[in-house]
């Protein structure tokens, strides 16, 4: 029945493309979460009135973050080809797209992390200092847990942006549903392929959104 409705869809290709999209999304979301939190913490802690206050470091990190956020993703992929070759050893395939995906998303997420950390009650941080907590204890026992719902909803938004970035990663032959929809669907004039690929992307996005919402709600005890 399916083959009569979608005569040009090759399901094994579709499945492989889905796996590629999920692979790229999963790895890049994970790396973005870690890197974004690290950058966001650095932005927050070096800003005015915080424990590592340092105008110089803050200015540099903020500059780099803004720069990477401003470069259109499609250009970023091309610019980062030499780096990808250096890190993953190839300029083609799903792995080749990862450095660009992470470099594009982490700065975006870092800003969200910074905002989330700024929302943490100053009084609670101060109370921890009054108890004699170290900076490490304040980061891992106060800042991150208290900001967690915002950090999770932020990574959900970022993850969804990453799904659409993976569609562009086709230019370095990364594969994935976006690439399939463009090459097999649009270029070869198979609208049924485009349609199925689009629906699958929507399903992935919806699943990410639900996971994000449920986790945020479970974490938020306010």
């Amino acid at each position: 029945m399916l083959s009569s409705l979608f005569p040009n869809v090759r399901w094994e290709d579709m499945w492989e493309a889905s796996l590629q999209t999920m692979y790229m999304t999963a790895i890049s979301v994970f790396a973005t979460f870690i890197l974004g939190i690290a950058l966001g913490l650095l932005l927050f802690l070096t800003s005015k009135g915080n424990s590592w206050e340092n105008k110089f470091v803050n200015g540099i990190v903020a500059g780099v973050v803004n720069l990477f956020r401003s470069i259109p993703f499609i250009i970023l992929i091309i610019l980062l080809i030499p780096l990808s070759v250096y890190i993953v050893g190839t300029m083609l395939g799903a792995n080749a797209a990862l450095p660009a995906l992470i470099a594009g998303a982490a700065p975006f997420y870092a800003r969200m992390v910074e905002i989330a950390l700024r929302e943490v009650d100053r009084g609670v941080i101060e109370a921890s200092q009054a108890m004699g907590a170290t900076n490490g204890q304040i980061i891992f026992k106060v800042l991150l847990p208290e900001a967690m719902p915002a950090l999770i909803s932020g990574i959900t938004v970022t993850a969804i942006a990453l799904v659409s970035y993976t569609a562009m990663a086709g230019v370095v032959g990364a594969g994935g549903l976006g690439d399939l929809a463009y090459l097999d669907g649009f270029q070869r004039n198979n609208p049924d392929v485009t349609l199925v690929a689009t629906v699958l992307i929507l399903v992935i996005v919806a699943v990410l959104q639900v996971i994000g919402d449920v986790t945020t709600r479970a974490m938020d005890k306010r």
Binding site: E126, M131, G132, A133, T134
Partner: protein, 339 residues
Amino acid sequence: MIELKGIKKTFFAASGPVEAVKNTDLTIEKGEIFGVIGYSGAGKSTLIRMLNLLERPTEGSVTVDDKALSKLKKKDLRLARQEIGMIFQHFNILWSRTVKENIAFPLEISGMPKEKRKARVEELVNLVGLTGREDAYPSQLSGGQKQRVGIARALANNPKVLLCDEATSALDPKTTDSILDLLKKINKELGLTIVLITHEMHVIRKICHRVAVMEGGSVVEEGPVLDIFHHPEQPITRDFVNQLSEPEEMKESISHLSEGADGTLVQFTFVKGATGSPLVTQLIREYQVEVNIIQGKVTHTQDGPYGKLSVLLKGDESAIDNALNYARGQVKVEVIPNA
């Protein structure tokens, strides 16, 4: 226990330097409850925050339990802070942790092993009266309960000093009293030195042994609470004392009655033992004056009661004079001129 010497704190704002605390010396004895009272902006909050160096004094030295905090290295300061508990107006507990986990937080900081932590937390939960609420999140607690978590948390590492930064200002009067009772109990049972700041004379009256009055960044008056109540010297101190002993309604009824009333309007101030003496009975019996009671109030402080009674005396001039002379031997007498 706590010694402040030549403490100054200047903030550098865009509009110029602001002297939040001017040259201040203060000594707080071991085991006492010391209150600092002042209106907002008087510098009392800055003062208490300098006792654990949350605010670093611009000049002067802070010594707590023989340790000169201002000279300690970062690590030693952290250790010293574990011996100084602090509670806050807005509680400042972590919403992401349960009652139990909030109380365990300072124990995690000081590195107490997990098995010991559990027993200590249980002890503290019982001490502050939160038994049965251990697994609740702060959002499920009332303000008073949140402050109890704050107190338990502050006491976790067996501190020698407890700092209370407007700890009852966000609570209703009834809850305020229950928190004050708890603080009093802790002071007695654990021998803990407590320093608190407040803008309510009620708090000072109820639990403090000594009080300092702050205005414009300086301590303008200081002494045992009962003395301050009895002989307030500065106008601002009198304001605070009157907050308690002369409520608005009393002033109104006095001014109302003194308008055109014949007789002598007198205010008696009772201290300590005198609150028990049958002064009014004596005046009526022995001196043949008519005593019309207008207003009266007895206030209890940590060191004993303190009261004020306003009466209108009628009778022969000589009888009134004799009566007043007698009264002067018992209490403080103030004749209020008729308006």
